[in-house]
């Protein structure tokens, strides 16, 4: 099978996976008890006259997609599971996630216009880039000095940061940086709380950037520490493999400087699995981001999801689960495609 066949197969798998996630998301929330009676509870509002109560209940049930017309005796017909699934499926595919219980606004608006998506992307982007650079750089050093004290220290440190609970690491960073070193350093939020008033928010970008970087520092540091260990270990492993190859011996025999051997010859060949694993680990990073955002009250998708849990904001949870899963699936697909395009040696099964 050639590259094209490989891509077609991957695409089909991805589509099936998305359908599976949509179905799973429906099934899980179908299990949620307690929808019965909540609309009837709303109808107890004394402002609704008793004769209009049934009409109110019916209109609300229709609005929620639970009531599909009336039979000949004017009895309401509840929607079947299939009808509901059909509506739900179409809504998910068209990114129409309904309204948040907390704000009453459309979820896509709460997600994008409020800047949450941008905040999460900023946090993940900055920390991933730094973690990748740091992990690769230290991994190369570690592989170069294999067996030395530096090597074992770096491997141990990365194993430790890799296995520590993320939220605890974040809390310890707050303890050290905020409470012990600098009590004026911001420990939560994306921007100072008073910036919500446009009169108090600075307009010049040179005033905004340093403050925003200050707020970004601790969450980004947490997520960087969370990620870099994995990159370091993988780089070290692939570099060790690459360094034992014949072409490295050849390069060294040619008298090339060690720097060139390491970065031009070994790292170039070792980098493919690192890059693709970074894409494949997207789900893992998102999990870390959810926790990190919660600790630092970083108003991104993860913090939103956390608030949705506390508010029992089901539409937001449903939408967030779908979006996060979608991102991960797309990232996986991207990694596969990247791998197929970059590595001509790959054997397509």
């Amino acid at each position: 099978m050639g590259l094209r066949g490989y891509l077609v197969k991957r695409s089909i798998n991805t589509v099936i996976l998305i359908l599976f996630v949509i179905t799973l998301n429906f099934v899980i929330f179908e299990l949620l008890p307690g929808t019965q009676g909540s609309v009837a509870g709303l109808a107890e509002n004394p402002k609704i006259p008793p004769e209009r109560k049934q009409q109110f209940i019916d209109s609300e049930l229709t609005r929620y997609g639970l009531l599909c017309g009336y039979d000949s005796n004017h009895n309401p017909i509840p929607c079947s599971v299939w009808e509901r699934f059909g509506k739900y499926f179409w809504a998910m595919v068209t990114f129409n996630f309904g309204n948040s219980f907390q704000t009453g606004d459309p979820i896509t608006q709460d997600m994008i216009q409020s800047g949450r998506l941008a905040n999460t992307l900023l946090l993940i982007g900055v920390s991933s880039v730094i973690a990748l650079a740091l992990g690769i750089f230290l991994g190369v050093i570690s592989a170069k000095k294999r067996g030395s004290f530096i090597d074992s220290t770096m491997v141990t440190t990365s194993l430790v940061t890799f296995s520590l609970p993320t939220f605890w690491m974040a809390m310890v960073l707050v303890l050290v940086f905020v409470f012990w070193l600098n009590p004026t350093w911001p420990a939560s939020g994306v921007t100072p709380a008073n910036w919500i008033d446009p009169k108090l928010a600075p307009t010049s970008i040179w005033q905004v950037i340093p403050v925003r970087l200050q707020y970004l520092f601790l969450p980004a540091l947490t997520l960087t520490l969370f990620q870099y260990g994995g990159h370091l270990l993988l780089t070290r492993a692939t570099m060790l493999e690459a360094l034992s190859e014949d072409y490295i011996t050849t390069a060294r025999a040619k008298g090339l400087p060690e720097r060139t051997v390491l970065y031009k010859h070994a790292l170039k060949n070792a980098s493919l699995p690192i890059v693709t694993s970074a894409a494949l680990n997207f789900g893992f990073i998102l999990s870390g981001a959810i926790i990190t955002e919660t600790v630092f009250a970083w108003d991104g998708l993860g913090y939103w999801l956390y608030n949705a849990i506390n508010w029992k904001d089901i539409p937001v949870m449903q939408a967030m689960f779908f979006i996060i899963a979608l991102c991960v699936i797309v990232a996986n697909f991207g990694a596969d495609v990247l791998y197929g395009l970059l590595d001509p040696r790959i054997k397509y099964e």
Partner: protein, 606 residues
Amino acid sequence: MSGFLRTLFGSKMAIAGLIILIVYTFLAVGANVITPYDPETSIVAGAYAPPSWYRYLSEGSALSQNVFLQQSPGFFSDPLQSGTSWSFAASDPRVTASYDPSFSYVQGGGSVRVTLDRIAGPGNYTATFKTTFDWPYPGPPARLIASLAVNAPAGSPELPVSATLFVERISGGYAKWNLTDPTSTIVRPAFGSLLSKDPLITYYRTGTNATWVPGEPVIYDSNGNGKYDTGETAIVGSLPQKGATLSTDPNLKYIDTSKSGNWTAVDSVVYDSNGSGFFDAADTLVAGQSTGNNNLSWSSYPFTTPGWQSPRSLDSNSGTLQQVVQKRGLNPAQLIFGSKDQYTFGVRVTINSALSSATPVNVYLDNMNLKIYGTSFGLLGTDYQGADVWSQLIYGARISLMVGLLSAFIGILLGLVVGLVAGYLGKVVDEVLMRFTDMLLVIPGLPLLIVLVTVLGGAFGSGRTLALILVIGFLGWMGFARVVRSQVLSLKERPFVEAAKAAGAGSGHITIRHILPNIVGLIYVNLALAVPGAILAEAALSFLGLGDVSVLSWGRMLNLVETTGSQKIWWWVIPPGLSIALVSVAFVMIGFSLDTLFNPRLRQRI
């Protein structure tokens, strides 16, 4: 088997892992025996009390520990006989005290009887029954709880009886702070009385004619004769810088300092509690200017019903006293115990007899105790309520280990079954199962866990821990299923399986008798490696507030830290996370050692 154990114990990594695990298992199993306190409901010291050992560092030198003057549950022997610390004094010889060994609030105990002989006619009488004790710490305590049970004749206009608990400093010259009714008059120094040298106490300003001007700063004994008389001035000190020399003049008024040395409130005094002469981190802030009374309410006195009144507690953390004093940023307990000194604790009984009578008045006192909660406690300090963090840690070990082990077990069992079935049956079954496994592997774990626990948690109600175990277990099988399947695929082609087939063995028999024994090592290794993931998952979910709120786990401890805004309480933040990390690392180390043990290829390499 012994060879196996010998090899296992030959590995340093395995031994380190096993030691950590044994310690934590011991703590988890023996939690009831190791600590007498309930992790959440037992209040053992003041809120946010650092660990006891912190007192040996210079930062914590002003911290105090618990002092319990426990006469509870009652007087089982005569406190009035010589040799005890209790003493009795009365304003008139007609008021006497004796020990009644058979009449008591507490079953089987006795009580102290204060008797007034009313034959000589009406009058107002006071009697005090008190004990002395040492407060051995340079800094104040966090909280005090005093209690008393009284049995007195019902109050009537002719015979009001009242009882007041008090704690006083013995040394002369100090103003005394009584725990009396808040409606009583403000304690002011009498004209000509000694002025306090106690920096805790501030007075109102005096004018030239010695009248009180409320709401003004401290009196400074400017003529230096040590008495409050005419011509004293009122002074407000300037703000000291951190590290500045503190004035020894107790009347100088400084402004409140918090632990970090930042100014926070406007009307309290810095008390140089560690005696260093400098304003530094361990100094306690003490009273601001007195704006009102500083007393506890005890509304059941004077008595309206005869017989034993159930013992009332005077708690410095609740009631009127706290509200009044809190405005000054202080707890009454801190006002009373300013420094190392001797104190008295007792009850003052007042009987106003309006008539002559042959019947004496008897007032019985019992169940007197005083608990002074210190500002440091135990191995790991206390949380936001004053509960023991060490107890929380070891009870938390139970839940975290249980959830981790059981979820990992469920996950490994499911993975084993799926892997065996897929690997051995092959074809369509294999294809379907592995596609399903792959799909679940791609879906991000934490969001799926969050959604599932939210949905199922409601259905499980109080058994939320079970919901956690099941959800984590049922989402933790995919990786192992793939491993088992690939092993089975390779084992299936081995000669011994073919031999078994030739001998007529069925697939069930072959799977269980021939294939399973060959992957036992794999099961152990993966079980050990699956536990950390499960522990971390439980911790993350509990941290997000999705765990069982009726039990403590390490994750919920950190959730409590977060929700009560206690991020700076390091003795509460560090232990649970460190324990999670240690236990996880222990399992990983054991897993790796088992792996090298079962996997000869790895063993040769090392």
